[in-house]
Structure formats: C-alpha cells, structure tokens
Amino acid sequence: MKTKELFLLGFKSLKFLSLRKKIFLVIQIVIMLLILIPFGFYSVFSNAAETIINNQYEFREISLYGTSNDYEKYKSVLNEYENNHIVYIDELATPNIRAYTSVDSRNNFILKRKIEGFVPEVTNGNELNNKYDIICPEMATDVNFEELNYNDLINLEEKIGKTINLNFLNSDDELVFSQEFNIVGTYNADFYYSYDTCYILNNTFDEILSKINSDLKEDSDTVKDLFILYVDNNENVEEITNYLENNDIMVSVPKLDDKIVNYILLLSIFIMIILVITSIIILINYFKNYYKEEYYNIALYKALGFKEKDIIKIIFIENILLIFVALIVSIVLFIFLKIIVTLYLHQFVAFRIVEIRLSIIPLFIYYLVIILLNYVFLKIDINEISSMSIKRIGEL
C-alpha cells in the first residue's frame, strides 16, 4: 500500500471517532500537558542554572537594600528611572518594618527595636518568666548575614541554663553598662533566618532602653531589603545595577541554589515516568478493546483481500495520527495556558512565569514511546487479527 493512501485512510478514521477514542484522545492530551508543564517550569530554573555556570547574574531579580531612611530616596530614583527591562517592582518594606535586638560574639548587645507579640517557637528551655531571662538563637552570629558561614556561628544551645553577660551599647557603639542574663531557651535560627536576634521581656527592654538613654527610632538603622526588581533578561541586569549603584543605592543579586534546579529536573523526570507508566496501562486497555471495536472494518479489509501486514499498517498509521492530534492539541493548550498565566498572573509572580518555555523533547520522547508501544502491541496481537473474519461478524 502506498504511504499516501495509508495516511488518507488514517485521516478518514479521525473524522469518525468513537466515544472511546475521543476519551482516549482527551486522556492523552491531559498526560501530555502534565508532561509539558513541569518541564516548562524546569526550563525556568535550568536557564538560571546555565547562568550560574557561566558566572553571570543567574536570577533576574535585583534586591535594593538599605535602612528605612533610604526608602523614600530609593523610591524617587526608581520613579525617575525608566527602563523597559524591569518587569515588576516589588515593594517589600515600609519604613516601620520590624527590627531586632542583636547580640554578637563579644556579647555586645544592641537594642534595635521592641518586638511585641512575637517570640519564635522555643526548642529548648522555658519561657521568659524572670526579669533577666533571655531566649537566643541556637546558633548566633556576629557577622554580616550575607556572608553567613556555619563555621562562624556561636553555639548558644550549649549554654541553656547558664548565664551570659551582655554589654549594652548605645547607637554610637559605646558601652553604657553590662548585665547578666539567664539563657532559658533557644530557637531554631535556621527556620527564622535570625542568627542574631534575642528576645527579652518588654519591661526589661524598656528599662534598659531608658538606662542607655538611647534614642531608638523604630529600626531606622537596620539594613534590609526595601525593593526587589524583576528584570526580563539576564543581560539587562548589569545595566540596571550599574545605574542604581551610581545613584547610591545598595543592590544585591541573589544567588540561586543550583541543587534546586537538579531537584526540579529529577521531579519532572519522575513525573514523566509515572505518566508514561499510567499511559502504558491506558494503552493496553485501549488496544484490547480496539480489535473489538474495529472488528467489522478489519474483517471487511480481510474479505477484500488485504493482507495482515497491510491491516497492521492501517491500524498503525491510524493510531499515530490520533496521538499526533493529541500532541498538537496539548502544545497549543500549553502555549495558550502560558499566555494566560503570563498576562494575568505576571504581576504577582512575574519573574518565574515570564520564563516558562515549551520543552518539546520530553513530549517527543513520550510520543516515540507510544508509537513504539503501538507497534509492539500490533505485533503481539497479530494472531487476533488473523482470527478475524467476515463470517463471524454476524456472531458478534
């Protein structure tokens, strides 16, 4: 049989799909979408990983940090700066964001701000009961958060139940007085990202505040992220950071943990394998019923003198085309979905969604697997085809 005619017959059968074939088609579309979506998201991160390897700015995210005093200044610079590559500006901070009390390795204690109504879950020890009780991070630091290194942490967990002598400094870093505190507990600093924050009673806080006669205005001298800019393309990050730095704005481009990239890839492959297995089960079911459904036509082909290998070709092409339809539909749906997500959600999660890319290769692998299975099933079921005969149509 000529290939062209085989395909024409295949197209003809696509026009008259039974309910079962339609359901099969929908299932295949869903499976293909489920393969496309995680790999689409993976591509976001793999792109980031690529840039890490190339030692570039890996994430199109720029943090603007400073103290609360810088807030208005940064804002006005950003308002003046017109750069189309900035996709979205996230305002993280208001001038009154929290501050903290902080301890360093020399037990210098700096009162930063009274934190009301918030004490992390204590992993060891008691609550704050007595005037000079204190709760510290399990691991404390006196180094800059950005350069955090586990070896530099001071283990305070060992010191539960013991005392610590704290030196209270004023805002000019001058020692005002010392006071002994009882460490009644520690909390998991990893979880709260607070390697330098300790908690004491409100009254004690107020008393010490008055003693050191410090003029604590909120947390005006605490450095924190004020804005995050999301940039459409890595190449434009440098231009923007240069501009900001020239305007005396402190910026940082966060690093992405490249392990995450691998996890997402593994997860995507894992999902794909599960979906392929599910699909094999569905395919087995599909082919088992296929012969029943197509008995009439196959028996007719045989009566008209078609050889088994001709019939196998016809069925093969028919199914390849059916699954090809699923392939095309799922790609179109994916693109459609991507556009919708990009248009309507990009204000919230812009930097990730903007990058969703169509990963054809996993889908293509899946398509090849199905085609292979289609072929294998036909070979296995050749006996079934041989036993089909026009004389038995009436019996069914």
Binding site: A303, L304, G305, I390
Partner: protein
C-alpha cells in the same frame, strides 16, 4: 472452482458436531450464473465462505483456478481474494467512514493491475452504469439499501475478478431493488462466474444453473 468431497463440521457450543456441508463434489464454471437455493441453516453461507476463501473446509479438496487452496499461504489467499473474487453480502458491509467512491476504491489500494487514473475512470463508468453517479461522494448512511447494495456490487467488480460470490444479496431489499440487483448480476455473469446464494424463488428465472442445498448436501436441480 472444483470441490472434492468437501465436508465442514462445526462444534457447537454444547459440544455437538454440526455437519454444515456433507461431501460436496462440484465444479463451478466460468460464464455461468449459479443459484444455490436452500432453507435457512442448510449450509449456504458456509459453502460460499469456503468458495470465497474466507473459511476452510474440515475435509476434502478445493481447487481454485487449479490451485489447491489448503496448500496456499494466508498472503496468497488474500491475493486471490483481492484479484479473483468479488463479494456481495446480505448486509452490504460497507466502511461507514468512507464515501461510496472510496469504498469502491478500497480493494484497488492493494492491487497493481491498473493505474490510479484507469481505476477511477473505471469506477466512474460503473457508477454511471448503475445509475449512482450522483451518489459517489455520499456516505453509506446517506444511501438507501438498494443503493448501498449497488455500491457493494461495484466494489465487487472494481478489480475485475473472475468470480462474484453473493450471499443473499437481495435479502434486505424490497422487490424492485431485488430485481435490479438480480438483473445486474445476470449481466455480469456473461463474462464471469456468478454464484448467488438465496432462499428466494425469484432467482430461478435468472440463473443458468440452479443448485439445491439441503442439510449440507448439494444437488443439481
């Protein structure tokens, strides 16, 4: 087509042996119109299936154009069916996904006798002869029973076979369509061997030779 001591036994579901054909000896010749008459259950369909290489006998020898059928491979049998045999069935057996013309062209897809142009010209001629030229691009479910049967007759003729086998071709048709089909078959039988199975007495008027099948035994009338 020569049958020698052909026996066909079926094992029915309750285990009994049913002798559908009992020692059939007969030689079907070209250019004749055979009518095989018999009551329901007498073995007519079984006989025509064996003649058409769709079924195999339990015992006996069957020669098609001098070839002993039992000794041929499945592919060779398919080839003979495609080249030499045209079927017309009681229930038409058209592919519902294909138009009348496409149904007719189906057997030509695997046949190398003619070029595509010749085949289509030939098909159109046949559609014209049978008064179906306006129905060529209709689907089977848009055609009446008589029209469907004429389409299946064209399909049977398209590869210019030497034998036409028809199992109750008029069983599902009204009187006028029945006469129409029988006349057409009569016309065809001038050049080919036509074997029509029926329990309808009207066929006797058209047949050259009438055979009676009674409980699996074939007798010339």
């Amino acid at each position: 087509m020569k049958m020698e001591d052909i026996v066909k036994t079926y094992i029915s579901k309750n285990g009994n042996q049913v002798k559908a054909l009992n020692n059939i000896n007969y030689n079907f010749k070209e250019g004749k119109f055979y009518a095989i008459m018999g009551q329901s259950g007498s073995g007519k369909t079984t006989l025509i299936n064996i003649l058409g290489l769709v079924d195999v006998p339990t015992r006996g020898k069957y020669f098609f154009n001098g070839l002993e059928v039992q000794k041929l491979s499945n592919d060779k049998l398919s080839e003979i069916r495609n080249n030499e045999i045209g079927f017309v069935f009681q229930h038409f057996y058209l592919n519902n996904r294909l138009t009348a013309l496409e149904n007719v062209l189906l057997p030509t897809l695997i046949n190398k006798k003619h070029t595509k142009e010749e085949i289509i010209e030939n098909a159109k001629k046949l559609f014209n002869n049978l008064g179906l030229e306006s129905r060529m691009n209709h689907y089977p479910n848009e055609l009446s029973g008589g029209e469907q049967q004429r389409v299946s007759l064209i399909r049977a003729l398209i590869n210019e076979p030497s034998v036409i086998l028809a199992d109750e071709p008029t069983g599902n048709l009204d009187y006028n369509n029945e006469l129409e089909i029988l006349k057409l078959l009569k016309e065809v039988s001038k050049k080919k061997c036509v074997i029509v199975v029926s329990h309808n007495p009207n066929i006797k008027k058209y047949a050259d030779i009438v055979l009676n099948l009674d409980k699996g035994v074939l007798n010339e009338n």
